[in-house]
Amino acid sequence: MIKFENVSKTYPNQERPALDGVNLEVAKGEFVFLVGLSGSGKSTFLRLVLKEEDPTSGKIYVAGKDLSKLSSWKVPELRRQVGTVFQDFRLLPNKTVFENVAFTLHVLGYSKKEINREVPEVLELVGLEGYGDRRPSQLSGGEQQRVAIARAFVSHPAILIADEPTGNLDPTMSVGIMKLLDRINRTGTTVVMATHDSGIVDQMRKRVIELEGGLVVRDQVRGVYGYSG
């Protein structure tokens, strides 16, 4: 589903590469944690998958497409297959929960009828039935992140990318979000989650890829956060 072949990325005016000869492959339906300190290359990895940046060298394949051969006007098509969730939720404050989730479908050109069918369905999946008329400011952080996940998932993308989705949440809320991501993963969606949260990584026992200074230093099938044991 995602394949990096000897990928390096050096940002302009920087000497040290953010990613340095990374080779890895994420299969369809996998759940992968991307761990490492700030500046280890996690964000660069995710930006490359979304083609927000182009690699300095190497090849990247996402959902069967060679990104180096993807013309810029086809990038939106790629992003429709990759849902994204962020630490800061990125909801639209002037829109209701329903409108925030429906926004994706509007952008993709769904009809009103389809929107009225899909949005309640995904709100139910994320556990926010009956929250459709509320504004993001009326919700807790965990609930806001659920809305963001609903928005990312409502179009049923093949890949879900989550960049520190629990970074702003307390542990109880984080557990709820992880259960939700697990449930989404079980529908066949590939999930890549960048995180600092060692508790979550240890608990989930999923594949762990650790980056350090732009290098993959560990790729473990049922891993934990650190080398504690």
Partner: protein, 300 residues
Amino acid sequence: MRAGFVLSEVGIGLRRNLTMTFAVIVTVATSLSLLGFGLLSNAQVGVMKDYWYDKIEVSIYLCGDLSEAPSCSSGKITIPQRDQIETDLKAIPVVQNVYYESQADAFNRFQERFKDSAIAQNVTPDQLPESFRVKLKDPTQFAVIQSAFSGRPGIDVVQDQRAILEKFFRLLNVLRNGALFIGLISVLTAALLISNTIRIAAFNRRRETGVMKLVGASSFSIQLPFLLESVFSAIFGWTVALGLLSGFKVLIDQRVAPLLSFTRFFGWDAVWIASLQLLGVGLLVAALASVITLRRFVKV
């Protein structure tokens, strides 16, 4: 994206940025009006040229007893010379018609024109020159007549009335160019304001555009609401300008035209043509300013 969704986003954008929207509308309205006045003064110069050039003639004064030009050295023109000139004149393609004014005709006309003046009492027919009044199909073709007849024996002087009007029209052209220049400058100002407004709007809505980008909206559909907003503002400003120009036309018809009977004024057709040109300019400027700004500030 569906049209309804795009339009509702445009509506939200216009309302949220109400003061800027208002500024854009007013600037577009005033700049298009100024440009419109320029276009109308251009139409007016055209109308006046048609009106005056239609009336002017080339006068060929023939030698009389009092003529002093070298071509008159043999004295008053003979009748065969005069007939030959008339025949030659009529053979020239640009000549529309030729009218011969005898000394008696000239005297009558002189008496008519200066009937209230003492000068009329002291003039006798033999003091006035006989002449050919030549109407040209194209008044700018004076040089053809000038070169063919000036200095020919029996002809005193060839006079083009157009030369007198030229100075007047040169002045009018300067005024018209000034009006067009001011109009174009203010249209440029409007373009810069539109560009700045879009920058601000893009900054205000970076959240929305960021989310649209994330969920895979094409650049076109992200930029379309901004583009439509400035185009709608431009159309709104244009309707205001159209109202101002129509008011200007009514004012001229009712207040100015009755006072200045020596010329005609531009008609409503000129107002409509100018309006269509202004609509074109307004749309083009709004769209261009938007597209150039959006390419820089709303990237995918």
